[in-house]
Amino acid sequence: MLGKYTREEIIRIVREEDVQFIRMQFTDIFGQMKNVAITASQIEKALNGQIMMDGSSIEGFVRIQESDQYLHPNLDTFAILPWRPQFGKVGRLICDVYNPDGTPFIGDPRGVLERVLKRAADLGFTFNVGPECEFFLFQTDENGNPTTQTADEAGYFDLGPLDHGESTRREICIALEELGFEIEASHHEVAPGQHEIDFKYTEALKAADNIMTFKLAVKTLAQKNGLHATFMPKPVYGQAGSGMHVNMSLFRNGKNVFHDEDDPKQLSSLAYHFIAGLLEHVPGFVAVTNPLVNSYKRLVPGYEAPCYIAWSTGNRSALIRVPTPRGQSTRLELRCPDPSCNPYLAFAACLAAGLDGIERSLTPPEEITGNIFEMGPSAREARNLRSLPDTLESAIRALQADKVITDVLGEHVTTQYVLGKLREWDEYRTQVSRWELDNYLVTY
């Protein structure tokens, strides 16, 4: 179980539970989990922050001549992984990355989120996040390599014999609950082989840690069940893609500051400013919330994924939706992120955008009540509806132009992220795709 552990408690648990290995986990700039595995005998050294790693081997971290970096574990994140063998148990600690001089490494995404959360805390706010993660479970081929095939014929909320991934999804939920997650919902999604698991909102740093743990659990338990799990946003043309809707709220002194009983929509001025900040900066941060070339294959009309920059109460075609519950449950749902993103950077960008809206008292445009997907170009123009960037390249250019977002990421992360993503875009755009061959090889 996750909980508040002291150093002595962790040492005792490692000994009593016969934990053999501990994974010191951290996340790189592109959202990939990395780890240094240590034996149980090293636990005290680990808790002293003395475990070193070569940062130059992590893309986007440091150069070879300054490569010694240290992993400082967060004691609250200690857990024994429930899907590992019960003989030879494996524990884990989520770590922050530090420089040899004891200062936080500015390229550590977890640190990026911690710094903007501190800024929010100085304003009296706690930033809470509740993610809704979708993913696909696919079969593997005779060599064990992933395919996009599924034996699953089920659809949205289906259950029973049709839902072949149900037992895997159930096993994932049980494992997550053993790790202290509060699972709010779990169900089959629209596309064959697609599933969703929602966990209860929590403070943003913990929510980001949870998403990294969640992805590890899903991938591991899928493999254990002979399936391949993917968080790729759009693995199958013509089917719904996988999003990661992010429900956000700000609290102050235990009270949700987005709620105002006297407002016609029961939203406070802070909520409206936050919405305006998100809408203003979404072109700038979509490269972070939707980081892959493939992410933009999902953000197309016809699949409930947003394409236009708009907000609405209840309307699922909008980029930002305000779900019905109010009071302490008042929240904003940002619907563009996908689960391939780095959750630390994504939440940091969202918070920075929202805080900018609050600090500048920005006003959002009128909410859109109709189905945006059914509006023609002139109707959208009449409402001044802008589109989201439609490629990774245009999203990166928009990021570079948005000072609020580049400031929150910091110069190091921004530079390395942009470099990496432009390289990715360049590799993609120079590939000759199956579509091109099918459409041009014979005709020309």
Binding site: P85, Q139, T140, D141, E142, N143, G144, N145, A151, S167, Q223, K224, N225, G226, L227, H228
Partner: protein, 182 residues
């Protein structure tokens, strides 16, 4: 032949796979599945409910040990491989046979595995005697007729009363029948 529909053959090497399938088929045994990958085996066992898996020490995507662990509660394994590779095979549900294997050893081991699979993975279901079954049905019918319960509600009522009082369901049914018929 018993359980011919629940033997799975899984080897990374096609020749090794063919050899085992041939031996089984010569004995009148048709495998339920023939695979190269552990993932395929896992999916097949989940569909079958339980199985005997005859495999090499390593499949194309995982080791026999990893596979046996994944299917600890639903399959028993027979790893057939060289003596050196057998050292890499471990598991409570994993038996080993070293190549070259004699037909006698192979089939006698398979027989042991069949019994294990039957007992461990398919424990006997306790069945009520016919007269007890009739009593329970009678009690349900009374609850449905007199108390306007549906069949589901009557069943749940009997279950809950049994749990609350510590009596077997058939005893609870007897009490209900006696109450309504006196």
């Amino acid at each position: 032949m018993q359980h011919t529909d629940r033997i799975i053959v899984a080897f990374a090497n096609p020749e090794a796979q063919r050899r085992i399938v041939r031996i089984l088929e010569q004995d009148g045994c048709v495998p339920a599945g023939v695979f190269y990958s552990g993932a395929d085996v896992i999916r097949a066992v989940r569909k079958l409910g339980s199985a005997i898996v005859i495999c090499g020490f390593k499949l194309r995507d995982m080791t026999a040990t990893e596979l046996a662990l994944s299917l600890k509660s639903s399959a028993v394994f027979l790893a057939v491989t060289s003596p050196v590779n057998l050292d890499f095979c471990e598991g409570e549900n994993l038996f080993k046979l070293s190549t070259p294997v004699s037909r006698a050893d192979f089939f006698s081991t398979l027989q042991v595995l069949r019994q294990m699979e039957e007992r461990t993975l398919h424990p006997p279901v306790t069945r009520r005697r016919e007269d007890e079954q009739k009593l329970v049905l009678h009690a349900k019918q009374l609850l449905m007729d007199v108390n306007r319960m549906t069949e589901d509600e009557a069943h749940r009522f009997l279950q809950k009363r049994s749990m609350d009082t510590g009596l077997r369901m058939v005893e609870t049914a007897r009490l209900i029948v006696e109450s309504y018929t006196h």
